[in-house]
């Protein structure tokens, strides 16, 4: 933690960056996102196991993006995966954001997509046991039972959009959900409105989800909404042999068109 603070101060003092996006102490032993622009604010940085938020989401926030060159504390591999995917989607320029990865006895400074990829090769992406167990259970369910499961979960949804707003890949300036001329998806959080929202989101993220699980963690009513995109991601991986967050130079599986596509309907 001290080396992280040290590094952050050096970078700020040298003028290499304008701010560090990291973690600070939050309510009841939790950790919260923290923006440090001065040595005083750097001293509040924390790096430990409790730092679970994927900070890449905030890097896309207007007010933070415009602070100037940023360093992000990438305690979680998914933050780097997000940066790779955002680079692949031309939302972040390669080299624009510095990643500080707390490591054994120090801090690793990564500045390019290639460095992110090399680091990620050392830390394999793995779902939590709880997520994997529920995902397996869902996959094993007959379709009608699975549909009933999601209908019950969606009935709790109130469309607060915490899932969307916490997602690093939901960076659209104007989300389809917020378009009202025409209104594509019903706004109310009734059965149809909720279902359409979650299915549109899952489809939009298929092949792009970095599997950080942030959406599920953000949900105030505990809907395991991340499993929808995990499920979609597994399908894309099985069909196309690629997934979100793996590389900065990848074409999205579901939105790339080539004359030699194996599907005839597309040509």
């Amino acid at each position: 933690m001290e080396s992280l603070k040290q590094k952050a101060k050096e970078l700020l003092e040298a003028g290499e960056i304008k701010a560090v996006l990291g973690y600070a102490r939050g309510t009841s032993d939790t950790r919260r996102p923290h923006v440090a622009m001065s040595a005083l604010e750097v001293d509040k940085l924390v790096a430990d196991q409790a730092c679970t938020t994927n900070l890449a989401n905030l890097l896309m926030k207007h007010e933070i993006k415009h602070l100037g060159k940023l360093a992000v504390v990438a305690s979680r591999p998914s933050t780097l995966r997000s940066l790779l995917q955002l680079t692949a989607e031309h939302q972040v320029a390669d080299g624009a954001i510095l990643a500080l990865v707390p490591a054994e006895g120090g801090v690793k400074q990564l500045g390019t997509a290639q460095a992110f990829e090399e680091h990620l090769a050392l830390v394999p992406q793995k779902k939590t046991e709880k997520d994997q167990a529920l995902l397996d259970r869902l996959k094993a369910m007959p379709r009608a039972e699975r549909f009933a499961f999601w209908q019950k979960e969606f009935s709790r949804c109130m469309k607060c959009y915490a899932c969307r707003n916490s997602c690093p890949m939901c960076y659209c300036e104007r989300c389809t959900m917020d378009c009202n001329r025409p209104q594509w998806v019903p706004v109310p959080s009734h059965a149809v409105g909720n279902q359409e929202y979650h299915l549109v989101r899952a489809m939009h993220l298929a092949g792009r989800c970095v599997e950080c699980g942030e959406c599920g963690r953000a949900c105030p009513v505990g809907i395991p909404v991340h499993l929808l995109t995990f499920f979609a991601e597994d399908s894309v991986r099985a069909q196309f042999g690629q997934g979100g967050g793996a590389s900065a130079t990848i074409d999205n599986a579901l939105s790339t068109f080539r004359p030699d596509d194996k599907e005839t309907f597309i040509r």
Binding site: G26, T27, S28, T30, R32, P33, H34, V35, T53, N57, L58, K61, H62, E63, I64, R156, M158, K159, C160, Y161, A162, R164, N165, S166, D178, P186, V187, P188, S189, H190, E214, R217, A218, P220, V221, G222
Partner: protein
């Protein structure tokens, strides 16, 4: 001070039966798939044993997340318009905390401000509240800074305080008396247990009135921007809030029929104040966050002579970015 009675755990079961016999639905905190939610119950055994609060507030019982206001059909140029009628069931809200019981007053201030809202009133008229005092609190709680307290009686028709062998019952309103009258034998008069001794200790964190006096002078204070840098602009805080009352009106229609719906809205959304022209008077998240604070602690007292926050802390617990309202209000109170 209302007279205090003793209500044993067995007597509570019998009271639930008496309420059901009287045709009332009982809503209480339950453990549903690891989540504390308000659900219909028939016995105290179904009530969550260990809960601080429900995730969502009890405002749903009078202000549902989606409500139909009217519907219509059109045929041959003729419009048949039907006003919706509120579907209000006689309901007893059991086990809500004193902070939330006190929140209905803030909802009432808006729904009965310039016109009387028939949907809200139809439900409120059929609602009785059996609150339960808090014997524990967490870091998000700040009721004592918001004019309440862990054993506050405001808003409850009956307030129960857990004591050895059952509850201490305070009958506070005619609605409470009507419930007592359903089963008077279960309320033992002359209870002597010390209520204050079992209540949670919630220290006062800031002076609410001083903050209200200060807010008009700190509209441009950098504190709002600092606090809201990590806010992701979702509606979790507003939707779980027992006093947040803002709603949207949506029309769902096709050429033959349609309906008009009222739904929860949030000042945290960028769309909330977006004008048709494209101009947004609250362009950035800091302006929206400031609005949330000002609405509750400046505009509410100015307009309704009461506050729009009861210090329940639900927003803090629900926030994905850990926007801790108590902490941020203390910061505002101390800001230069």
């Amino acid at each position: 001070m209302a007279e205090r009675y003793k209500l044993t755990q067995d007597a509570l079961s019998a009271l639930f039966e008496a309420l059901a016999k009287d045709g009332r639905r009982i809503l209480a905190p339950t453990d549903a798939d690891g989540r504390t939610e308000l659900n219909a119950v028939t016995s105290p055994d179904q009530v969550s044993k260990q809960y601080l609060q429900t995730i969502l507030s009890a405002k749903e019982t009078v202000f549902p997340k989606v409500e139909r206001l009217l519907s219509y059909t059109t045929e041959g140029g003729k419009v048949d318009l039907k006003d919706a009628q509120p579907h209000a069931l006689p309901t007893v809200l059991f086990g809500v905390r004193p902070c939330e019981a006190g929140a209905f007053k803030a909802l009432d201030a808006v729904f009965n401000w310039d016109s009387r809202d028939k949907f809200f009133n139809a439900r409120l008229e059929k609602l009785a509240i059996i609150g339960v005092s808090c014997t524990s609190a967490d870091e998000a709680c700040f009721c004592t800074s918001a004019g309440g307290g862990p054993g506050d009686t405001q808003g409850s028709d009956i307030l129960l305080t857990p004591v050895q062998g059952g509850y201490l019952a305070e009958i506070l309103t005619p609605r409470g008396e009507a419930i007592q009258a359903l089963a008077p034998q279960f309320f033992q008069a002359g209870a002597t247990e010390d209520k204050e001794a079992v209540l949670a200790k919630v220290e006062k964190a800031f002076d609410r009135e001083a903050l209200t006096a200060k807010l008009p002078g700190m509209f441009e204070n950098p504190v709002w921007k600092q606090q809201s840098l990590r806010c992701i602009g979702c509606g979790a805080c507003a939707f779980v809030c027992p006093t947040c009352v803002c709603f949207d009106i949506q029309e769902e229609a096709d050429p033959k029929k349609g309906e008009r719906l009222r739904l929860w809205d949030s000042c945290g959304f960028s769309l909330f104040t977006l004008h048709a022209s494209g101009h947004n008077p609250r362009e950035v998240q800091s302006a929206r966050w400031r609005q949330r604070i000002y609405h509750k602690f400046a505009y509410y007292p100015e307009r309704y002579q009461q506050y729009g926050c009861v210090g329940c802390g639900k927003c803090t617990r629900a926030c994905p970015a850990d926007m801790n309202l108590k902490e941020h209000l203390v910061e505002a109170a101390q800001a230069q």
